[in-house]
């Protein structure tokens, strides 16, 4: 559905001229702004060769940026696998018929969705060793555990909303042919829910990649720590380093987002559509509607 074209008529000759003028004015303003920023940075000497030259040297990349990137990506990857597992298990837990499974699962999910990740990582790293004696806390695992608890909880809600959005006929038919609840969940509901919620899941994974940056609070040697903090201690170029690192994050996350878009189009072509919950509130009841909306559009929002 192309939203854009519905809102305005196909531009006629006058509209085209108006659009052209707007384009020219806005474009010129934007260019002027960029030029002004360039001048200001120049005035402060931010384009000085000494600040940028390190990025032409191999050692900067081999010793700082690439190892940082590797830590960022491996923490993100491990956390992705664990969060997806956590998400499925807790989604199923919250849908359980037994209150003693449903309630604790609900409390865990709601709690970790509401606590800032920065606090969580900080506590896991510094606090847990005080609580559990002889615990060896590696920064890597503190970051992964924090990311898993937070993103896993968000994903649990996404899966739950997805399961509830699968038309009831599906599970009724499955029960009808004699499947047990476990089988219905595994063979019928979860696969459909996962596919329907794929865009949400992938955009949450983008958040996860960005949030590895919060590892800076415990000196986890990821991209931000090595590429900005340590690198700039060597070359005194903190602004330049931050610009380069930001561009790397944007590239990685754009690739992930592009992947999400591609997967989304792929599933659409196969004719699988996410039931639009707001359009048919009667079908899934009252609470699920909100839950589904909650997660559908905005789960892609994390810490840093």
């Amino acid at each position: 559905m192309s939203t854009d074209a519905v809102l305005y008529d196909h531009p006629g000759p006058r509209a085209r001229i108006r659009n052209w003028i707007l384009t020219a004015v806005f474009g010129a303003g934007l260019l002027a702004l960029f030029y002004w920023i360039y001048l200001k940075f120049d005035e402060k000497g931010q384009w000085a060769a000494t600040l940028w030259k390190p990025f032409l040297e191999q050692s900067t990349w081999v010793d700082f940026i690439l190892p940082g990137l590797q830590q960022t990506l491996s923490a993100a990857l491990v956390a992705m696998v664990l969060s997806l597992t956590f998400g499925v298990l807790f989604a199923v837990g919250r849908l359980s018929d037994h209150w003693w499974v449903r309630v604790p699962a609900g409390i865990v999910v709601e709690f970790f969705r509401a606590v800032p990740l920065l606090l969580l990582i900080f506590f896991i790293f510094f606090g847990l060793p005080y609580v559990i004696e002889d615990l060896r806390m590696e920064a890597f695992w503190a970051v992964v555990a924090g990311l898993t608890l937070y993103n896993g909880s968000v994903l649990a809600e996404a899966f739950r909303a997805g399961v509830q959005a699968v038309p009831r006929g599906q599970s009724e038919a499955a029960y009808g042919i004699g499947m047990r609840k476990n089988q219905v969940m595994r063979y019928i509901l979860i696969p459909q829910a996962a596919r329907a919620m794929l865009p949400v899941i992938v955009s949450q994974l983008v958040v996860l990649v960005k949030d590895t940056a919060l590892g800076y609070i415990i000196s986890f040697p990821e991209l931000l720590q090595l590429g900005v903090n340590v690198l700039s201690a060597n070359y005194a170029n903190v602004v330049a380093a931050a610009i380069v690192v930001a561009i790397i994050y944007i590239i990685i996350n754009s690739l992930l987002t592009a992947l999400a878009g591609w997967v989304d189009r792929l599933t659409r072509r196969r004719g699988i559509r996410v039931p639009r919950t707001s359009a048919n509130p009667g079908q899934t009841g009252v609470q699920p509607t909100a839950a589904a909306q909650n997660t559908t559009v905005s789960s892609g929002l994390g810490g840093g």
Partner: protein, 288 residues
């Protein structure tokens, strides 16, 4: 019915797993009274992990795969004194807040990381040294004349690291100064260079490291009137008395045979500041 039982087990499994994930390592070693577990034993087994700072030029700076600075040179002297080739040392970056727990958990054997000896920390680790007596000082622009010491900070913007001792001291003793906090000193120095803050405050030796950086050569100066005493120690496990005493002996030897001076000259001394003599008489911090 069966399904929900599985769900319950699975939920428990995840809880256990996430707890285990936090665990990571092998639980560390309990009680390290014997010399086999102290730094002497560790060095004899051919491997020593030294915790250092990674982002402080001149003191402990990670330069890619390796580290350099005064603290690193001291670490090499200690390793050599323990009979270990310095190339066998594994350097590990520590943050200020996790130095005690890293020692306690056995993630590092020794910490040499601008680590001030104080009574609170002595409750958890044993300190050899001090190998250097630093003091809180101020770093300002080279052409600054109106900041001459902490008394002249009223109304000025001073930068330090969030939650650090120097930051706390400014808050409590010089409340008229405006305190800007960042997570690293590099950012403070960048803000000083850009004119957003008037001074950076922390230990003089750390400030000297920044002033000596080629990018800031001639642009910044350390006031040179330290207003606190920060004896830097070398931390080992609290129970490792033998190791602690041994490190003191190594330091004593280094003071007399000139390796201590060389360590200074090849790092912070490059900025032209002459080495201070290591006060051999004060090497008395080991627990009895």
């Amino acid at each position: 019915m069966r399904f929900s039982r599985i769900a319950a087990v699975a939920t428990a499994a995840v809880l256990a797993m996430s707890a285990a994930a936090c665990g990571g390592g092998d639980g560390g070693d309990a009680g390290s009274g014997g010399s086999a577990d102290g730094v002497i034993g560790k060095a004899a087994s051919g491997k020593l992990i030294i915790g250092v700072k990674g982002d402080q030029p001149g003191l402990g700076l990670q330069t890619g795969t390796t580290y350099e600075g005064f603290d690193i040179e001291i670490g090499k002297i200690v390793a050599k004194g323990l009979g270990l080739d310095p190339s066998k040392v594994e350097w590990k970056t520590t943050a200020s807040a996790n130095r005690e727990s890293f020692i306690e958990q056995g993630q590092v054997d020794i910490v040499i990381a601008t680590y001030t000896i104080n009574d609170d920390r002595k409750k958890r680790v044993a300190f050899a040294g001090p190998y250097y007596e630093a003091g809180q000082d101020l770093l300002v622009k080279a052409d600054n004349t109106d900041i001459t010491g902490p008394e002249s900070l009223a109304g000025k913007k001073v930068c330090s690291v969030t939650g650090s001792t120097p930051a706390k001291r400014i808050k409590s003793d010089y409340p008229d100064a405006q305190l800007q906090e960042f997570d690293t000193y590099s950012k403070c120095v960048t803000a000083l260079d850009g004119g957003q803050v008037d001074a950076v405050t922390t230990d003089d030796i750390i400030l000297a490291g920044y002033a000596a950086q080629s990018q800031y050569a001639g642009k910044l100066k350390v006031i040179g009137k330290p207003f606190s005493k920060e004896p830097y120690g070398i931390a080992v496990k609290k129970t490792d008395t033998a190791g602690c005493a041994k490190i003191n002996e190594i330091l004593k030897a280094a003071a007399t045979d000139g390796t201590y001076k060389t360590a200074w000259d090849t790092t912070l001394g490059k900025s032209g500041t002459p080495a201070k003599d290591l006060a051999v008489a004060s090497l008395t911090n080991c627990p009895a």
